[in-house]
C-alpha cells in the first residue's frame, strides 16, 4: 500500500522532503482524532478501507491535482485501524509554485478524500 497504512503516522517524512527551486509555497494539512466525536468523548476511532480501490482512486486524484494545480510534490497518507485521540489520521502535503495553487491543491485532495475515497470510520470507543 502506498497511501494507506496501519502504522502510526508522523509528518517527519514529509517535512524532510526538499522543495524544488521553482516551488514557492508548501501547504500541509493534518487531520487528527479529536476527543469529542458527534458530541461524545471518545478514546479512539477505527478506520476501514476498500484498500485496492482507495489506493487507485487516490492515485487518480493525485495525478489530477498535479496536472490541474501544477503541484511539484504531493504527500498523502491515511491511517487505517485504531487511531487514538491526538494521533494523526491523515496527512496531505503539497508543494507548488505559488500559494493559491498550493492551497487549492491541498483542499482539492482533502475534499475528494471526504467525498470519493472508500475509507470509513467504523467504530468509536
Amino acid at each position: 500500500m502506498r497511501y494507506l497504512t496501519r502504522e502510526p503516522l508522523s509528518a517527519d517524512e514529509w517535512h524532510r522532503e526538499a522543495m524544488s527551486e521553482h516551488s514557492g509555497a508548501s501547504v500541509e494539512f493534518l487531520g487528527v482524532v479529536r476527543r469529542l466525536e458527534a458530541g461524545k468523548p471518545i478514546e479512539y476511532l477505527e478506520y476501514e478501507a476498500y484498500e485496492p480501490m482507495a489506493e487507485q482512486v487516490l492515485e487518480q486524484y493525485i495525478q489530477q491535482a498535479v496536472q490541474q494545480f501544477g503541484l511539484s510534490k504531493v504527500y498523502f497518507r491515511h491511517r487505517l485501524g485504531r487511531v487514538r485521540v491526538g494521533e494523526i489520521a491523515v496527512i496531505i502535503g503539497v508543494h507548488a509554485p505559488h500559494r493559491a495553487e498550493a492551497f487549492a491543491g491541498c483542499q482539492f485532495l482533502l475534499e475528494t478524500l471526504k467525498r470519493d475515497v472508500p475509507i470509513w470510520k467504523v467504530r468509536a470507543g
Binding site: G31, M53, Q56, V57, L110, K114, D116, P118, I119
Partner: protein, 81 residues
C-alpha cells in the same frame, strides 16, 4: 453469470456478511444487480439511495453492464479524514 459483491462499513451488519454471491443473467446492469439485492436483503432498501456501486475499483452508473469476473462493491457514504 456468477458475481461476488463486496460490502463495506455498516452495510456488512445490514446484510450480515462482507461478501455476497449472486447469479445474474449475462449482461445484467448495476440497476438489475441492486434490484436482486433488495429482494434478497430487504433491510438494504433504506440504505441503497446513499450507496454507490464500484465495478473493478471505479464508481459505476446504474446502467453499466456487468461481466463475469467483475469485482463489484457496495460503497456507502465515505467518512475518511
Amino acid at each position: 453469470m456468477n458475481l461476488c459483491v463486496r460490502v463495506f462499513a455498516h452495510l456488512k451488519s445490514v446484510v450480515g456478511a462482507d461478501t455476497l454471491r449472486l447469479q445474474l443473467p449475462a449482461g445484467a446492469t448495476v440497476r438489475e444487480l441492486l434490484d436482486v439485492l433488495q429482494q434478497r436483503y430487504p433491510a438494504l432498501t433504506p440504505w441503497l439511495e446513499s450507496t454507490r456501486v464500484a465495478v473493478n475499483y471505479e464508481y459505476a452508473t446504474l446502467d453499466a453492464p456487468l461481466r463475469e469476473g467483475d469485482e463489484v462493491a457496495l460503497i456507502p457514504p465515505v467518512s475518511g479524514g
